[in-house]
């Protein structure tokens, strides 16, 4: 089961990747999937179609049609697991991110998650032995819901990326206990909760393990094959996107800009020692590293692997040699040299535009600068 938030974003390549992830979820036998705002990026119909094709159930307890107030997807789902009836509820933050992340934002509305669960539980609880709540809200809010609403056995929290190596227990034996689970993000972990249910539907005991899906875990051979095939299609999509993006930029800025990127060879005329330091550095080989992975068509990658990507007079809109992270990536356009906007000494913030936690998790300014230092 999945707590939602599997879709990447709205560009063509992101959509292709997201729907591929959904296909793989189907292949791997996901049974029930919560709906979170990013998953609505391509519209309700696309999401529903993908779930149907991949044979998993969608649940969305607090997502409604604005016009009718009716649920968009099933507000709860019941699955029979070895004779035990398991009921699933799923909530997301009220109206959070819907407007910016959802194709059908104008026709959808999310209600208060706690109120939705309170309203649905009396109907669901008598039909099932165990209630699982997907809560795509902060873990603090998940805990608050479990504290205040009796009848939730398990809560899978999502949205803030925590990894609960051990479930958080909320409540008491007399008032009813809930276990709060969270398995991080980006598919880096999978949580496994083994629990024993009595004849009367009471959870007697449980065991929990959080598995890191790192290089020590062997790939599913069929999925690995599908990924390799998909990468070929993805590269084509990314190349098309890069061309369209470049054309869009050229159209959006019809007049030449005053400031220009000049290329590292121009800087080298006066700053030869700095140039010599740079030309052997990883920055100088940043485009080659993309080529090595056949990612040179990816706009997402190019913005941090060349100089001035898609900017006026930047890569690829100029004859200047900008196919790497060169002087002007950090110091600003060459024609700014000597002016007040020229960045003589770039600060850490300049680096973290690209060396962010996702792309460069080990980045440390002092350590990295030591490898690059030049005058």
């Amino acid at each position: 089961m999945d707590g939602g938030g599997w879709a990447l974003g709205s560009t063509e390549s992101q959509k292709a990747q997201s729907l591929f992830i959904s296909d793989v979820m189907g292949h791997m036998g996901y049974a029930v999937v919560n709906v979170a705002p990013p998953d609505l990026a391509y519209g309700v119909d696309v999401l529903r179609q993908s779930a149907t094709t991949n044979r998993y159930s969608l649940v969305a307890s607090n997502l409604k049609r604005k016009s009718s107030g009716k649920p968009v997807f099933d507000p709860y789902v019941i699955r029979d697991v070895q004779g035990v009836k398991v009921g699933f509820l799923g909530v997301m933050n009220e109206n959070e991110a819907l407007a910016s992340q959802t194709a059908d934002a104008d026709s959808l509305v999310t209600t208060d998650p706690s109120a939705a669960v309170r309203e649905l539980l009396p109907a669901l609880r008598p039909k099932v032995d165990v209630v699982v709540l997907f809560a795509h809200v902060s873990q603090r809010r998940t805990q608050q819901m479990c504290d205040e609403i009796k009848g939730i056995d398990l809560a899978v929290s999502g949205g803030d990326g925590f990894v609960n190596h051990k479930p958080t227990e909320v409540g008491t034996d007399s008032t009813g206990k809930s276990l709060i689970l969270e398995a991080g993000q980006q598919g880096k972990y999978v949580g496994a909760l083994t629990f024993v249910v009595s004849e009367t539907g009471k959870i007697l005991r449980y065991d929990h393990q959080m598995h890191a899906l790192d290089k020590n875990v062997q790939n599913d051979s069929l999925v690995a094959l599908q990924v390799e095939e998909f990468k070929i299609k993805l590269r084509e999509v990314r190349k098309r996107e890069a061309v369209e993006q470049a054309m869009g930029t050229q159209q959006a800025i019809p007049t030449p800009q005053r400031e220009k990127f000049l290329g590292a060879q121009v800087c080298a005329r006066c700053h030869s020692s700095a140039f010599d330091s740079w030309k052997d550095s990883p920055h100088a080989k940043s485009f080659a590293s993309l080529e090595h992975k056949q990612m040179e068509g990816s706009a997402d990658c190019l913005k941090c692997h060349v100089t001035g990507f898609n900017q006026p007079n930047g890569y690829p809109n100029t004859q200047a040699e900008l196919g790497s992270v060169s002087c002007e990536s950090c110091h600003g356009q060459g024609t700014l040299h000597g002016g007040k906007d020229f960045v003589a000494r770039p600060a850490a913030q300049t680096c973290t535009v690209c060396h962010d936690t996702k792309n460069s998790p080990k980045f440390d300014y002092a350590t990295y600068w030591a490898r690059m230092a030049h005058k």
């Binding site: 089961m1 999945d2 707590g3 938030g5 599997w6 879709a7 990447l8 990747q17 997201s18 992830i21 919560n34 979170a36 990013p38 697991v81 070895q82 004779g83 035990v84 398991v86 165990v130 699982v132 997907f134 795509h136 398990l154 899978v156 999502g158 949205g159 990326g161 689970l181 969270e182 398995a183 991080g184 993000q185 980006q186 598919g187 972990y189 999978v190 949580g191 496994a192 909760l193 083994t194 629990f195 024993v196 249910v197 009595s198 004849e199 990924v227 998909f230 990468k231 993805l234 940043s286 590293s289 993309l290 090595h292 992975k293 990612m295 990816s298 997402d300 990658c301 692997h305 792309n359």
Partner: protein
């Protein structure tokens, strides 16, 4: 069974059908007995969240 005065064949058939239904109802329908659940059932739930990630990293 007392013949119903002036009854047609259709009425007699309807009466017979009604009696049959009544008898069946009185005897009760065959019951579907749910298989008894084991005293303890072990379930494994595998879960994830926010799995979104670029399929391929830049370099």
């Amino acid at each position: 069974m007392t013949p119903v005065k002036g009854s047609s064949v259709l009425q007699k058939r309807l009466l017979a059908a009604a009696l049959l239904v009544t008898v069946l109802f009185a005897c009760g329908q065959p019951k579907v007995v749910a298989p008894k659940r084991a005293p303890e059932t072990e379930i494994v739930l595998l879960y994830q969240s926010d799995v979104k990630a670029e399929i391929e990293e830049c370099g």
